[in-house]
């Protein structure tokens, strides 16, 4: 393991590798996610985001993706739907660099905020986002589409006392 992964916009040919990155990254949660039916990453949906310019990868020395960030538009904000780094490439700044790329894009495209759903307690979840200026949102006062996403996460088995919406105003 050498240099920090390089962040670049995703290409269509990167997309087939992304579901495995998400499931590898999910293993770092151990038993915490045992009862959660993870939302699968669809290669087709990723290819659409790549074409729309809201999908980025962290690539290793051979230019192969080891992490990715996928964003969509939700309630007029830029919603970070996925941010995952493979455990063997983690702890070298790839996640933070991907997140900053998403924030930069949000500013560039005049989004008022970046939003996301995450775990309150896992160190590389809410506490990590807080270091980049994200704040937790009141679950009872979420904009409609974000509230719907949160409800659907809870329906898939996420713990309601731990799942939280966060936002960073741009």
């Amino acid at each position: 393991m050498t240099a920090a992964p390089k962040i670049r916009p995703a290409r269509e040919e990167d997309c087939p590798a992304l579901p495995a990155i998400k499931s590898d990254a999910a293993r770092a949660f151990g038993d915490l996610r045992r009862d959660v039916a993870a939302r699968p990453v669809s290669v087709e949906a990723m290819a659409v985001l790549a074409a729309e310019g809201t999908l980025w990868v962290a690539a290793d020395e051979t230019d192969a993706p080891v992490g990715f960030a996928a964003a969509t538009m939700l309630d007029g904000t830029l919603f970070l739907a996925d941010l995952h780094v493979r455990p063997d490439a983690a702890r070298r700044g790839a996640g933070r660099a991907l997140l900053r790329r998403v924030i930069d894009h949000g500013r560039w495209a005049f989004f008022p905020a970046v939003t996301l759903l995450t775990d309150r307690l896992v160190p590389w979840n809410a506490p990590f986002y807080a270091t980049e200026g994200f704040v937790m949102l009141d679950a009872l006062r979420l904009p409609p589409q974000l509230a719907e996403k949160l409800a659907s996460d809870l329906a898939r088995g996420h713990d309601p006392s731990r799942r939280t919406a966060m936002a960073k105003r741009l």
Binding site: A51, G53, W108, A109, F110
Partner: protein
């Protein structure tokens, strides 16, 4: 090898919400024609002259024809439709130079 060609754009956004729609749509055309951002916003200084706009962009294309075709493509025209009335745009298409340089 073809000379590269560039779009040089200066943009003043007047309706951010509508402009977002354009940003979301333009990637498809840029991808199709092999475009690459050389300058994308970023801090700038006017050293001479006036009439600055706040968003300045330089996009590289593989050649003049690709740069022209991109603008005329249905994909880009759809993006333009999305930013109608949302921005004041100066967009220049210009061919690159690959001759001798100041020594």
């Amino acid at each position: 090898m073809d000379k590269k060609a560039y779009w040089v754009a200066r943009v003043e956004v007047t309706n951010m919400e509508a402009y977002q729609g354009y940003v979301a749509k333009n990637a498809a055309a840029f991808k199709k024609f092999g475009a690459r951002f050389i300058v994308r916003g970023g801090p700038f200084e006017m050293l001479e002259g006036g009439g600055a706009k706040s968003r300045n962009v330089v996009i590289e294309f593989p050649n003049l024809q690709a740069a022209r075709d991109c603008w005329h493509s249905p994909e880009y025209q759809e993006a333009i439709a999305a930013r109608k009335g949302a921005a004041l745009v100066d967009l220049m298409l210009i061919e690159g130079y690959d001759g001798p340089q100041p020594a």
